[in-house]
Symmetry: C2
């Protein structure tokens, strides 16, 4: 079962918006055994959309469109679909009722003319209920291809996928089973890993695929296979994961849903019933954000400081001013004091501190841009480490945050 | 001058990676007057890549590829390009030297066999120097189409775009001028705005386009036009911006580069030489992160608290325990005390506080999931407001953060 995603909207093609919808849709389709073979982003331009629809129809069984369903004049998806299916817009009673209900429930006013126009759909379309917005989804079958159209607003699209599209797809199609296993590694580059597992890779049976997914500070390895017998597929994948554990076990830090080091840390702390706190300077809240983004954070995260200005490190965190004057604010000594004090003030088992120069300018420091000291306070004591993460502000911040979690993981595992 | 971006990699099509490269490339090309008409993501699969290349060649003048240049076996872009151009891989001396230099400079070891293989390029390709990785970019001209291939790792691709691709494109082509103006609004939905500016939109001359770019809590309106006389284009756009200011001036909060409310707040505080601090609970560091992501944050941001656990609000921020017991932790009274204490402790002109229930569970509170109290401490006093941002954790957090900045902006403008 093959699918293509077509995202419609000038805003994607001029780069004002990053298309996050496609990754979400692809992940969800994959889970039910539908393979996305192409993602196409096109402008709000009728002929180009028509061409993409015609091409996709040749290639795949399911075409999913997002975008261009808004109430404004630049949204032309519905009219274009009418052209494509030789159809016309008609008032859809179910969609109309939904719009009235949404306005009554959330906005406490009656819909305006433009809102009501959203209840006009191609006559061949089945309306899919959008619980979070006025543009209904659409389900249109043509010969052997299924077309699904959804709004581009991410939470509306997600609601439609979960409540309407995925259940209906599962009902309609029988799907081959796809089994993936993703292995999260840290501290070694793509080529270095490839060198170590070269033999393993050469001996991989044809039905098992290996992909390298590198990103800042980590490489994920994904083994995948597909077929009809789920037990056989899982056993084949598990067998190969074991081989990898034998080869690169020391750099493996997590699996599958654990796509980030902070998830690995979270799972360890929850398992151990331990707590942590933060004293961030150069990471500026990113570490706290990474933790609290995950639900359940309150089980292990007590709180954090974002002591951004030098003065606030003394005033709020109690780092002695003399220590800062003597060693400068970007120093091992200050990182150490920050971690110790955060651990004590929040009364946690662990604390991570960061102090560094994210750039582009040097601020109150003597060190080079990119220098970061990370401190880890543990039940046994405190350690600090110095890094240089280069000259790009966002990379410095992200690398420092990841490295902080990585150092903490090592300490937790020691205890 | 039309362009298409082709991103290659299974990881995009199974949804493990969001394609942020395309938005970056599109933005940069737009600035030099190259219009991206399609973005296509395809698997690491030779025939499919070949088909995409052939289709793109028919459609556009410039085809930019990213991905599939890694040193591992699943990276097949170079071999596929050889097929497409009827070419073969040859050792590129310039690329080889760059690899040796990178290893000496950054890794202090000699490259392995796989690293060296990256210096083999199609003979028809001009190597583009990659300062941040071992995979060189490639520039291949065929008949009237230019093909540019870059690695998929974002910072390597960005380096190549800035140092090699954009300068070479500007040298090679003469481009039409595109002029955009983006208007950032808040507090009104897409259809409500459309209703107010309906006449304006109907009267727009054909050469001026208006697009609506809605996202959580804000709508951006983009006016654009293209032509050859820059002064004429700017004057036409400025004239229409003025008309919009007359119609919806009260909801306009920023322009162009100000794509977010936190940037608007940052610019106001810098202009006024004022400072702010934060006391975050349910936003969990996202507000601090939004601020410190921008360089120059130290000019106005002194620091913040992420008092996540209820206990830490008393222990660290000094919110009286009796106040919490009496009103519960998610209450106007607690938000007020948090904002006042943060302002005082960090000694700033303003402070924002958040306390709420991001969900999915209710934690230590009586209120519904999605309820958030925001406090704003100002030189004149303190105010709080209650919101409900729905049931989705990420939406609650992001909406609360945006709303906090929005409320602060209003207060700054009063002073």
């Amino acid at each position: 079962m093959l699918a293509e995603i077509i995202t419609i909207g000038d805003e994607i093609l001029i780069g004002q918006i990053v298309d996050t919808n496609s990754a979400y849709i692809a992940t969800e389709l994959n889970k039910i055994g539908v393979q996305v073979v192409q993602i196409t982003s096109v402008q709000d331009e009728k002929n180009h959309i028509l061409e993409s629809l015609a091409n996709a129809e040749k290639r795949v069984d399911i075409v999913l469109l997002t975008g261009g369903l808004g109430p404004t004049k630049d949204d032309i998806t519905k009219l274009t679909l009418c052209d494509f299916f030789d159809d016309q817009l008609v008032l859809n009673e179910k969609a109309l009722q939904n719009i009235y209900e949404l306005f009554e429930k959330h906005l406490n006013r009656t819909p305006n003319q433009q809102n009501l126009l959203q209840a006009h759909l191609p006559s061949k379309a089945i309306a899919l209920e959008n619980k979070f917005g006025t543009a209904p989804g659409m389900w249109i079958e043509k010969d052997n291809t299924l077309f699904i159209s959804m709004p581009g607003v991410p939470y509306e699209m997600k609601g439609l996928m979960q409540n309407e599209v995925l259940p209906k797809l599962q009902k309609k199609f029988k799907r081959p089973i796809i089994v993936h296993k993703t292995i999260l590694t840290t501290g070694m580059g793509e080529s270095a890993i490839a060198e170590i597992i070269e033999d393993f890779e050469n001996k991989l049976p044809q039905e098992i695929k290996l992909a390298y997914l590198p990103s800042l500070g980590r490489v994920r390895l994904r083994l995948s296979t597909k077929g009809i017998n789920e037990a056989v597929l899982h056993s084949a994948i598990d067998n190969h994961v074991k081989q990898l554990q034998g080869l690169i076990g020391d750099i493996i830090i997590g699996y599958d849903e654990e796509t980030s080091i902070e998830e690995v840390v979270a799972n360890l702390l929850i398992k151990n019933k331990q707590t942590m706190s933060l004293a961030e300077s150069c990471t500026g809240g990113q570490m706290a954000r990474k933790i609290t983004k995950m639900s359940g954070a309150s089980q292990y995260f007590v709180g954090g400081f974002v002591t951004y200005a030098t003065s606030s490190k003394s005033k709020i965190l109690g780092v002695p001013k003399e220590l800062i004057d003597k060693h400068t604010v970007v120093s091992a000594q200050v990182a150490e004091a920050m971690a110790i004090n955060a651990k004590k003030m929040y009364d946690t088992d662990y604390a991570i501190s960061t102090t560094g120069i994210a750039g582009p300018t040097k601020g109150d420091a003597n060190e080079d841009v990119g220098t970061v000291f990370i401190g880890i306070a543990t039940p046994q004591g405190v350690l600090t480490e110095k890094f240089n993460f280069g000259k790009d502000r966002q990379r410095v911040i992200t690398n420092a945050a990841n490295k902080g979690f990585e150092l903490l993981r090592k300490e937790i595992l020691k205890n």
